[in-house]
Structures are given as C-alpha cells and as structure tokens.
C-alpha cells in the first residue's frame, strides 16, 4: 500500500480499525478530537459502532462492557479526561479485560492548557487509578510508529487480558507524516475469548468482576496480576538506541520529546560531541536492560521531557544510580527546543559529565 500523509490522531483511528477494533466510546477533548471525528465516519463503514458518551466516566465503562463482551474496543482522551477514566481503568485491569486507551497528553495540572504535555507519565506507568495494577504503556514517536503500535496494543491487550495505553501528546496527535497501514484484520477471525460474557449458552455463566471479598483470594488475584507484569517485563520491553554505542552523553526521552532529542544528537555529533539517544517505547514495562546497555559508556545521562521531571525518576531507578542523570524539562504546553537541548549537552560536556 502506498504511503499517505496523515495526522497522528486520524492515523491512530485507521490503525485501530485495521487491528480489528469495531467499537469506540469517547467524549470530546482537545487535542485528540480528530480521532473520534475520524472514527465517527469510519467505524459505521466497516459495521462498527462509534458512540459519543455523556462523559469520560461513562465512556470507559462502556469500554468495560464491550471488552467483557469479547470485542476489541478502544477509547481515547486527553489528560483531564483520562483522569476521569481512572476509576474504570482500575476496574478493567482488576477484571482482566483487554482494551486500548489513548492519551494525547496536554499541559496540566487541572484544566491546564491544550498544548502538548507529558506530565501524565506517572499516572500512566504507575497504574493511575486505585489498587496494584499496571497498564502496558506504549509511547510512539512518529505517525508510522503510532500505526504500528496500535496493532501491537490490541495484540498485547488480548495476550495479557490487560488494558494497554498509547501515551502520545498533542504534537503527535496533530502532526502529519507519511504512513503505511497494515492489512485489515478480520475481527471475526480473531481468537475466541471463552471467558467473555456473551450469554451462558450450554456452559456455566461467565462473570466479569473485580470484587473479591475474601482478602486471601484478593491477594492471590493480586499475585496473579503481578506475575503478568513480570512476564511483560521479560517479554515485551521495546526501545530504540540511537548512536549510543560510543556515547559519552546519552539523552533519554519518549514521544515527541525524543524527536527533539534526536535532532539535538545530530547537531551535537556535528560539533564533535559523542551524544546518543535512548528512547523507551514501552514505558511500562520499562526497558531496564536496554537502558543499562545504552548507557554503558555514558559519563552523563540527560532526560528530556515535557514535564517537571517524571520519566527521569524511572531513568535513575533503572540505571541503579550508577550514572549521573540530569534533567531538562518544559511544562504547561511548552515544548523543548533542539537548541536548548544542545546547549544542555554542551554544558554537560564542559562540566565533564559529572554530578547530577
């Protein structure tokens, strides 16, 4: 198939359909609205259902319903709306249902701004709602990667019976790049879900539930969930290392910040500085072995994000505090510039890469 130029939000919509998603429930919010706009048109064409819910709370519970009924289903929102979904997400994780949640992050806290942000990192990777649960979090950095990760998101959601979040930001949602789509998956041909609630025909009833009044049982359930997260950490980490082999200074960033970092690495290399970039693609599970390998040579690490410092905590933790990890962040909808990141790199080189 030939490449088409497409906005990130719309590309995600088409990619979801290609992945066999036929159900979308959501509530409008900038900067992700092109995704529901696209699906409102496109889903009925393929026999799917697009429904605008009365709130994000309702939308995520519709997702809970559809996921428990065995369908590939998705919702999307941006920061304030995702906060509202957190209750439902916890139930979905607790009931072990597969679904995909898109967060096109904007500046916060509160109503914040509608410009791009990355300040929902903690919410995304640490669970976000109540209870010990994790989302599998995928962070694309280009439109093509958004498309590729959408297919993966549905596959992993089904594999682990766990909600998967695609963590983007306003920039990725709004920008256009050429993309190529995979072939259409036939939802009818996807593996059966014998656990789903579809009517107890000739079998015992299936129950979609996250309530365990017996604490021992609930603890067992928690252990089972943890085992899934451990398996994810063993099997699902993904990352990109860019010029890290000989790098004295390794930048770490995800999503659109990583694109800025890449340009900064290019410029630093032109100035003769051995800079590289480590880009986690799965934010949970965090690619621990990969980041350690990428920073083997590094005298200093610089984390760049559109927040006041969230990813940086995981970077320090996963590097086991062996390398000084510095931080550069913008917030509130401000986007780091390549120039600012390059000057940070030069500063670090002058300091000899010491002390964090």
């Amino acid at each position: 198939m030939a490449k088409v130029l497409m906005k990130g939000n719309e590309a995600l919509g088409e990619a979801a359909i290609r992945a066999g998603c036929r159900f979308f429930f959501g509530y409008p919010i900038t900067p992700q609205s092109e995704l529901p706009h696209y699906l409102a048109k496109r889903l009925p064409e393929v026999g799917g259902v697009f429904l605008q819910a009365e709130s994000e709370v309702a939308a995520i519970n519709m997702v809970y319903g559809a996921a428990g009924a065995g369908a590939r289903v998705m919702t999307s929102s941006s920061s304030p709306g995702v906060s509202l979904k957190m209750e439902g997400i916890s139930y979905i994780a607790g009931a072990e249902l597969p679904c995909v949640i898109v967060n096109m992050q904007r500046g916060g806290p509160g109503l914040g701004s509608i410009q791009p942000g990355q300040a929902d990192y903690f919410q995304a990777v640490k669970g976000g709602g109540h209870g010990d649960y994790r989302l599998l979090v995928l962070a694309p950095a280009s439109i093509q990667e958004m498309v590729d990760l959408m297919g993966l998101a549905f596959a992993l959601a089904d594999k682990y019976r766990n909600p998967v979040m695609i963590l983007g930001d306003g920039t990725l949602g709004q920008m256009m790049e050429p993309v190529e789509f995979p072939e259409m998956l036939d939802p009818e041909k996807l593996p059966q879900k014998p656990w789903a609630a579809q009517g107890a025909k000739g079998r015992e009833p299936n129950i979609i539930n996250s309530l365990y009044l017996n604490p021992l049982e609930l603890e067992d359930h928690n252990l089972k969930l943890q085992a899934k997260y451990t398996q994810m950490a063993a099997e699902e980490t993904r990352s990109e290392s860019y010029y890290t082999d000989d790098a004295d200074i390794v930048l770490v960033g995800y999503g659109s910040s990583a694109r800025v970092c890449k340009a900064a690495v290019d410029q630093a290399r032109q100035q003769g500085i051995k800079a590289g970039l480590f880009r986690p693609i799965t934010l949970f599970p965090f690619p621990k072995a990969e980041i350690q390998a990428a920073c083997r040579q590094a005298k200093a690490v610089l984390t760049v994000e559109m927040s006041m410092g969230q990813l940086v905590e995981d970077v320090r933790y996963n590097l086991e505090f062996r390398v000084p990890v510095h931080f550069y962040g913008r917030a509130g909808g401000m986007v780091p510039t390549t120039r600012a990141v390059v000057s940070k790199i030069t500063e670090l080189v002058q300091e000899g890469g010491r002390s964090a």
Binding site: N61, Q198, L211
Partner: protein, 249 residues
Amino acid sequence: MITVFEKPKSLTPAKTHYCPGCTHGIIHRLVAEVIDELGVREETIGIAPVGCSVLAYNYFNVDMYEAAHGRAPAVATGIKRVHPDKVVFTYQGDGDLAAIGTAEIIHAAARGEKITTIFVNNAIYGMTGGQMAPTTLIGQTATTAPNGRDPEVQGYPIRMSEILATMPGAAYIARVSVHNPQEVAKAKKAIKTAFQVQLERKGFAMVEVLSSCPTNWGLTPLKALEWLKDNMIPYYPLGVQKAPEEVKA
C-alpha cells in the same frame, strides 16, 4: 414430597447474603422467573451494581458483570452495542442509580438503549450503613440525616421514574412495590413487560421497585413493609409511567 416451591433456573443455588426480611431477594426471584419464562437465560447478560446487591452476580445464573458504582447503564451500553441480539439488564439501587449514576441512567434512557433496568428504591444507602439516599423521604432519618431529611438542608427526594418517563428514548417506565403478594404479582408483570420491550427493541425500559430495608430503617421486616406502604407509596405513586401503545391496551 411434592414440589411447592421451585427455584428458577436463572437463579444459582447460592444462598443470598441479604438481611432477613430484605426484599432484594424477592426482586431477584421475580427477575429470574421472568428470564426463565421468556426462555432467554442463555442469551442474557446482567450487571450487578455497587450496593447491597453487589453480589448479584453470584445469584443470577446468567453471564454477569460487576460494575463500578453507578456505571451499570454505561457498561450495559457497551455490551448491548457489541451484542444487539442479547438480553442485557442492570440491577441497581437508588444511591447507585439516582446519585452517583444519575448521568449514566439519564443518558442511557435518552439514547433509547435497548436494555432493561431494575431499579431497587429502598430510600436509603443500605450497604454502607443507612446513609441518606437521593430518594430518602422528607423527615426520614438516616445516619447522615440524624434529625430527618430537611428540605432546607438536603433538598427533596428524586422521583426517577417520572424524570425518565419524559425521555423520548424511554419506551417503558413503571413503578411497582413488593410489600404484599398482590403487588408482587403486579411487579412481576411489569418486569416481564420491561424485558419484552427490550426483546421487541422498543427502547429503554425500567421498572422501579419500592423495596424495604428493615436493617437500616430500624424496623422488623413486617413493620418495614407497612412503613413502605404508608410512607413511600404516597410520594412514589405506583403505576405505569410510560408504555408503548400496545402494552397500555
């Protein structure tokens, strides 16, 4: 031995956890009998709320969900959109449906979701210890309204059936009671109609069932039924609020 009392197929053998004299149990039975009589047990998906009936998924012998507090109509919407041919019902208390889940029920009705809602109004938050519900009557005491509900402070009880009957998407809305055998029979008829309306894809259907909570009302089971009749029915009049023409006839 002759069988005088047989459990409906749509109930599991599990023993319910309801307090003695609580009418949740009767309402479960009515719903189960209707499902049996309509022959849709294997096509039915139910949603339990958060409230005293939170464990309803253990009692109904059909595919069940447990939903977050108030969200059952949204969950039902998700299910029904995936399986338009299945029978989907929610079972909700008055705190669940008329307080935290007001938006979800109103919009499910507004969309004309082809689902059936069993709304158990006992004028109290049963499960959490007798707090005031949106349906608690004026003057009725609750653990969070120790001097009785005062409209100056807590406003007025909500009549959900009347509100929902105004929605074009709602096809069938009725209020029934279970305080005596005659009313129980009428309640069953209404519940059956509410399922039939769904099967005929007419729109949203709800039966509000006035129910007793002897435990939190501080009354014996019998006194509770009397209290229901004397206090709840005057404020929450029984009857069909809205029905498709052929049902009315």
